[in-house]
């Protein structure tokens, strides 16, 4: 099962200059706050999809749920 830190590293590796704060100790439910300049000018749905795409095939499976907040760097 992935740790919160695994999730954080995968998000940060996949999205340009992203920083992620990830919580979730049970290995299947996570909460992530992701900041990336790649979100600029995109709708929130598009921003969430960019993060969800990192875990395509795992969400709803080995990862039950990820509560997501996306931000652009201020």
């Amino acid at each position: 099962m992935p740790s919160a830190d695994d999730i954080k590293q995968r998000i940060e590796a996949a999205l340009p200059d992203a920083s992620a704060q990830v919580e979730g100790a049970d290995g299947v439910h996570f909460q992530a706050v992701v900041t990336s300049s790649a979100f600029a000018g995109k709708s929130r749905v598009a921003q969430h999809r960019m993060v969800m795409d990192v875990f395509a095939g795992e969400l709803g499976g080995s990862i039950h749920a990820m509560a997501l907040t996306t931000k652009t760097p201020s």
Binding site: R44, H48, M52
Partner: protein, 134 residues
């Protein structure tokens, strides 16, 4: 109704209704906390919206997610575009973006203002899901 007909009916409902919420249960009786919170936001903004209960037929959810490419319920559409689920709707409500998007008269929620919790949905113009998607 075949899957294709169902998908067409969902697409049409999204196109025909400026604000439409696909949810578990009804605005009067939400069947899930995320749907309830989303309904609460729409009622706080005092905008009329169509709603579709996805629970009566599992194919509604399947076809909806096929159209929207969004896995979870609820899903709010405005002007034919997916706005998001509960988290996004809450965030956009708090920032005032949602009020702007749906053309609500009230702006961002003020701290002094209580969010109404009771059912306040107008029946006029409210899509009756059982008429639309069964």
């Amino acid at each position: 109704m075949s899957e294709n007909q169902l998908r067409d009916a969902i697409s049409e409902a999204i196109k025909d209704n400026d604000v439409i919420l696909f949810m578990k249960g009804t605005p009067e009786q939400p069947a899930c906390g995320f749907s309830a919170r989303t309904v609460g936001v729409m009622q706080a903004l005092d905008v009329s919206f169509a709603s579709v209960d996805i629970l009566p037929d599992p194919r509604i959810r399947q076809e909806l997610s096929g159209i929207s490419q969004w896995p979870t319920i609820p899903q709010l559409f405005v002007g034919g575009e997916l706005v998001g689920g509960c988290d996004i709707v809450m965030e956009m409500y708090e920032s005032g973006e949602l009020a702007t998007l749906v053309g609500a008269e009230d702006g961002a929620p003020s701290a002094a203002e209580d969010v109404p919790t009771g059912p306040a949905v107008e029946q006029d113009g409210l899509l009756q899901p059982e008429n639309r998607l069964s």
